[in-house]
C-alpha cells in the first residue's frame, strides 16, 4: 500500500478536527443533560435538527443576516427546550430509564413530523456568509475559513463551559447536582430552576450546532436520526456525563472517522462502533467517566 504523504495526513487531521468540533457542540449538551438530570435524551438530535431549520427560517426572514440568524436559532431552540422541560421532560427525571428512553423517543417521532409539516420534505440550504467563503492554504492543506470559525467557536464554548463549571457559584451547583441532588435541595438550592437552566442550555448548544452546520450540509428531514447514534457513541466513549470526556470522545470519533477513510475505507463505519464496544467492555464508565457501572 502506498503510504499517504505528510501533507495528506495533515489535511485528514484538519477535516477530522472540524467533524470532531461540530459533534462536540451537540454532544456537550447531551452529556450535560445526562450528567445533571440523569436523563438519556434520545431527542437531542431533534433539537439539533430544529436549530438548523430555525436558522433557515430566520435567515429567510432576516434576508441573509447570517450570524443573527444563528444566534436567534440557538436561542429559539433553548427557549423551546425550556418550555418542553417545564411541560414534559421534568416529569421523567425520576422515572425508570426505560420510560425515559420511550418518552424521549416519542418526542423524536413527533418533532420529525412537525418539521415535515412546517417545512416540507425538500432540502433547504443557507449560503455561507460572503466574508467566510475563502479558505486558508497551508501547503496542500486547505482549511475553509468557515470551518476554522466552527473550530474556534466550539473551543471557545468548551473553555467557556469549563470556566463556568469551575469558577462560578452556578457551576458549583451544577456539579453538585450531578453528584448528589438530595443534598443540593437540602442546602436550599432551587433545584427545579437549576434543571430548567441546564436542560435549556443543552438545547441551546444543540440548536447552535444545528444552525452552524446548515451552511455546510443540507437542511433535511432525517438529520436527527443521522446524528443521534454518533452522539451516543461519543458520550459513551468519553464517559456519560463527563465534560472533558465528551470532548475527548468527539476528537476520537472525528479522527477515527477521518483517518478511517484514508487507511481502512471499507471499515470506517465499523471502526467507530467497534471502539464503542471495546470501551464499554474494558472501561464501561468511559475514558474519563467515574461511576459505578457493574
Amino acid at each position: 500500500m502506498e503510504l499517504p504523504s505528510l501533507s495528506a495526513i495533515g489535511a485528514q487531521a484538519v477535516s477530522g478536527l472540524t467533524t470532531a468540533m461540530l459533534l462536540f457542540l451537540v454532544a456537550s449538551g447531551l452529556s450535560l443533560i445526562f450528567g445533571v438530570l440523569r436523563l438519556l435524551n434520545f431527542a437531542h438530535g431533534s433539537f439539533y435538527m430544529l436549530g438548523a431549520y430555525f436558522a433557515w427560517q430566520f435567515n429567510t426572514w432576516l434576508q441573509g443576516s447570517f450570524w443573527l440568524s444563528v444566534l436567534f436559532a440557538a436561542i429559539a431552540t433553548g427557549v423551546l427546550g425550556a418550555l418542553l422541560e417545564r411541560v414534559l421532560f421534568r416529569k421523567f427525571y425520576d422515572r425508570p430509564e426505560l420510560m425515559q428512553l420511550l418518552f424521549t423517543y416519542s418526542i423524536v417521532l413527533i418533532v420529525s413530523d412537525v418539521v415535515k409539516y412546517i417545512w416540507g420534505t425538500q432540502q433547504l440550504g443557507i449560503r455561507r456568509p460572503e466574508m467566510l467563503s475563502h479558505s486558508f492554504k497551508f501547503g496542500e492543506i486547505v482549511l475553509p475559513s468557515y470551518n476554522l470559525v466552527i473550530i474556534v467557536i466550539s473551543l471557545a464554548i468548551a473553555v467557556g463551559i469549563w470556566l463556568l463549571l469551575q469558577g462560578t457559584r452556578l457551576g458549583k451547583m451544577v456539579r453538585a447536582a450531578a453528584f448528589d441532588r438530595e443534598m443540593l435541595s437540602m442546602l436550599g438550592v432551587d433545584v427545579r430552576m437549576l434543571y430548567l437552566l441546564v436542560f435549556s442550555a443543552g438545547c441551546f448548544l444543540a440548536g447552535l450546532a444545528g444552525a452552524l452546520v446548515a451552511p455546510m450540509s443540507a437542511v433535511v428531514p432525517g438529520m436527527d436520526a443521522d446524528i443521534i447514534i454518533s452522539l451516543f457513541i461519543i458520550v459513551v466513549i468519553g464517559g456519560l456525563g463527563s465534560f472533558w470526556g465528551t470532548f475527548l470522545g468527539s476528537i476520537i470519533y472525528g479522527m477515527v472517522f477521518s483517518f478511517g477513510i484514508l487507511f481502512i475505507p471499507q471499515f470506517s463505519l465499523f471502526a467507530v462502533a467497534l471502539i464503542m464496544v471495546v470501551i464499554l467492555i474494558v472501561k464501561p464508565e468511559g475514558l474519563l467517566g467515574r461511576e459505578n457501572t457493574r
Binding site: 420511550l102 416519542s106 417521532l109 413530523d113 415535515k116 447514534i229 459513551v236 462502533a273 464496544v277 464499554l280
Partner: protein, 326 residues
C-alpha cells in the same frame, strides 16, 4: 390454594389451546389479506415477547434486540436462496445464528448494569448491522436479499385437505406452529424456578447474588434464549417478507420492538403480543389515512409514558380488577 393454582393453570392451558385453534382456523374462512396481516403480527408478537424475557422479566433493557432477529433472517434467507437448503434446516439455523450472536454479545453485555447494558447491546447491534451492511457479496449490502422463495408447502395443503391453499396460506400455518412452540417454550421458562430467578434479579440483583443465584450465568442464559427466539422469528419473517434487508437490524427496528412490548405492557406474559398486534393494526389503518404516522405514534407513546406506564395489559387488568372488586 394449591387446587386453585392448578385450576388456574388448566384454565390458562385451555385458553391458550383455544387461541391456537382459533388462529389456526383463520385461513379457512378469512380473506387472504387478513391471513397475511396476522402472519406478520404473529411473527412480530413472538419477537417482542422474546424481548420481554429480558426487559420485563429480568429488567435488562436491551436496545439491540433487532440484531438477533436480523441475524436469523439473514441466515435463513441465505441458506434458502443461495445454498438451496430445505426450509426446516434453514429455520433451525436461523435460531442457531440468533442464539450464537446473542451468546457473543451477551457474554460481555451481562457484565454491565442499567444504561451501560443498554448502550452495549446497542453497540453490538450496530456492529452486526455494519457487517451485514458492508458484506455486499454475501448479504447484498443495502439492497438486501430479495426474492427469497416460499418453501414447497403442498404437503400441508394436502394434509389438511385444502389443495387450493396458496403458499401464503400454508405458510401462515407453519408460522403459527413455530410461534406457538416458541411461546410455549417461553411460558415454560418463566413459570419454572428459572423464571423466579429472573424476577429476583430484576427486583434486586445484589440480593439474588446473596441467596446464591449466579446472576451473570442466568442473565447470559436468558439473553441467549431471547436471541434464539428472535432469530427464529427472523427466519420466519425472511420468508414471509420474501426478503431480508439491513433495516431489520438497525437500531430503529430495536426501538420499534421495544415500543411494541411496552405498549402492550411488559409486566405480563401476553402484553407484548397485544402491543404488537395493536400497533401493527393501528399502523396499517393510519398509514392508509395520513402520511403523519410517526406523529400519531409519537402522541400515543407520549400518552402511554405519561399516563399508562404499564401498557395496555395493565389497563386491562386495572379494568377487570375494579370490576371484580365491585
Amino acid at each position: 390454594m394449591a387446587v386453585k393454582t392448578l385450576d388456574n393453570k388448566r384454565n390458562r392451558l385451555l385458553m391458550a389451546t383455544a387461541l391456537f385453534l382459533g388462529l389456526g382456523a383463520v385461513p379457512f374462512f378469512a380473506p387472504p389479506f387478513y391471513v397475511v396481516f396476522l402472519n406478520d403480527a404473529l411473527i412480530i408478537a413472538c419477537l417482542s415477547m422474546s424481548l420481554n424475557l429480558l426487559v420485563g422479566y429480568t429488567g435488562l433493557i436491551s436496545f439491540g434486540h433487532a440484531a438477533y432477529f436480523g441475524l436469523g433472517a439473514y441466515a435463513c434467507g441465505l441458506l434458502l436462496k443461495s445454498a438451496g437448503l430445505p426450509f426446516g434446516v434453514s429455520l433451525v439455523a436461523a435460531g442457531a445464528f440468533g442464539g450464537l450472536g446473542a451468546a457473543v454479545a451477551g457474554f460481555f453485555c451481562v457484565r454491565l448494569n442499567r444504561v451501560y447494558f443498554s448502550m452495549l447491546t446497542l453497540a453490538f447491534s450496530l456492529i452486526f448491522w455494519a457487517i451485514c451492511f458492508r458484506w455486499n457479496d454475501l448479504t447484498g449490502g443495502d439492497q438486501g436479499l430479495s426474492g427469497i422463495p416460499y418453501p414447497n408447502l403442498t404437503w400441508i395443503s394436502q394434509m389438511i385437505g385444502r389443495p387450493d391453499f396458496s403458499s401464503a396460506q400454508s405458510y401462515y400455518l407453519v408460522s403459527l406452529v413455530v410461534v406457538a412452540i416458541c411461546i410455549a417454550a417461553m411460558w415454560i421458562i418463566v413459570s419454572s424456578p428459572v423464571g423466579l430467578m429472573l424476577r429476583t434479579i430484576r427486583e434486586n440483583e445484589q440480593r439474588s447474588t446473596f441467596i446464591g443465584v449466579e446472576t451473570r450465568r442466568v442473565k447470559l442464559a436468558i439473553f441467549i434464549v431471547a436471541g434464539t427466539i428472535a432469530g427464529l422469528a427472523g427466519g420466519l419473517f425472511a420468508v414471509f417478507n420474501r426478503g431480508v434487508y439491513p433495516d431489520f437490524m438497525y437500531w430503529t427496528k430495536s426501538a420499534e420492538i421495544l415500543i411494541m412490548a411496552l405498549f402492550g405492557g411488559i409486566g405480563s406474559f401476553w402484553g407484548p403480543a397485544i402491543g404488537s398486534l395493536t400497533l401493527l393494526l393501528l399502523h396499517q389503518e393510519t398509514v392508509a389515512l395520513t402520511e403523519y404516522w410517526s406523529f400519531a405514534l409519537g402522541v400515543i407513546l407520549l400518552v402511554l409514558t405519561l399516563r399508562f406506564p404499564s401498557g395496555l395489559w395493565g389497563l386491562f387488568e386495572r379494568f377487570t380488577n375494579t370490576r371484580r372488586s365491585k
